[in-house]
């Protein structure tokens, strides 16, 4: 049976079709999930895609977090279902407290779109097992509110438990604490990051690299072997 990976569409989601394509290219079956529908339709994992859900009005992710699909998703994530939040999806994950901390406006106050180098700090999560710890990858970054922050205690906890999954290399594009680009929960099934792996899965389009594909093959392997 093929592995089913859901992609939630909120009003204003933009990279949902891109995430579906990445899942397909990795060999799984993408399943479109709708924000108003509580049912996860028997998916094995879920991607919360990038975009401007609800226009990023109020705060990025603040309104989507209360959608019906999130109720079920929060339950399932706590039971161990792999969940990946990309950019706006990461913002939804922090707003719904599946991941700690919060996202602030970039310190330079501009939207930024660039090819961003990252270091994979933790290759043991559901979404990073196809990378090597310490490996450097390059994938697009594009956001307005990407400055990750949390209180000192939370940061210390994330650092000491190895829960910082990605760090910006060369340039910190938004003023994020400790160059943090992505984090995971304690169980390692929920991962959020600001840059966009789904835009780096084909040599032809985007930046012309495929450094993002292992996200989607990682989760596939983990699901098949479990």
């Amino acid at each position: 049976m093929t592995t089913r990976v859901g992609v939630v569409t909120f009003p204003g989601s933009l990279d949902d079709r891109d995430a579906q394509r990445a899942i397909r290219l990795a060999g799984a079956e993408p399943v479109a999930l709708w924000h108003r529908d509580k049912d996860l339709h028997q998916v094995d994992a879920v991607v919360l895609p990038g975009g401007f859900s609800y226009g990023d009005y109020l705060r990025a992710g603040a309104i989507s977090r209360f959608s019906p699909v999130m109720e079920t998703l929060i339950e399932q994530a706590k039971l161990g279902m792999p969940v990946l939040g990309i950019c706006n999806g990461f913002q939804v994950l922090t707003e719904s407290h599946l991941l700690p901390g919060a996202m602030l406006r970039n310190n330079h106050l501009h939207f930024i779109c660039r090819d961003q180098k990252l270091r994979v700090e933790n290759a043991a999560t559901a979404w990073t097992s196809d990378y090597q710890a310490g490996q450097e990858i390059s994938i697009p970054l594009k956001n307005m509110d990407g400055r990750y922050t949390a209180d000192r205690r939370t940061i210390d906890e994330l650092e000491s438990e190895g829960r910082v999954v990605f760090r910006y290399v060369d340039v910190n594009p938004n003023g994020s604490i400790n160059d943090i680009a992505g984090i995971t929960n304690a169980a390692g099934n929920v991962v959020g990051l600001m840059p966009h792996p789904e835009h780096a899965v084909e040599p032809l389009v985007g930046t012309g690299k495929t450094d993002g594909l292992p996200f989607f093959t990682s989760v596939l392997k983990q699901l098949v072997s479990s």
Partner: protein
Amino acid sequence: MARVVVDVMLKPEILDPQGQAVQRALPRLGFTGIADVRQGKRFELELEGPVDDAALARIREAAETFLANTVIEDFTVRVEDGQ
């Protein structure tokens, strides 16, 4: 130090997409009975000197020319009470 607050709101006739999005979300979260929501900006300015008329006049000028975009926004300047 003295604090002056400048509130900047979109003019009433100007579309406020953010306020609208909040207003529409509130009933879904179980908060009813709210007829309208407008979202604006609040600036808190800490002054080095005293908040006299001259200082307030200058802040009003800064609000007019810089903090607010008077093509679409209104502003109010007030000294924070309870300081």
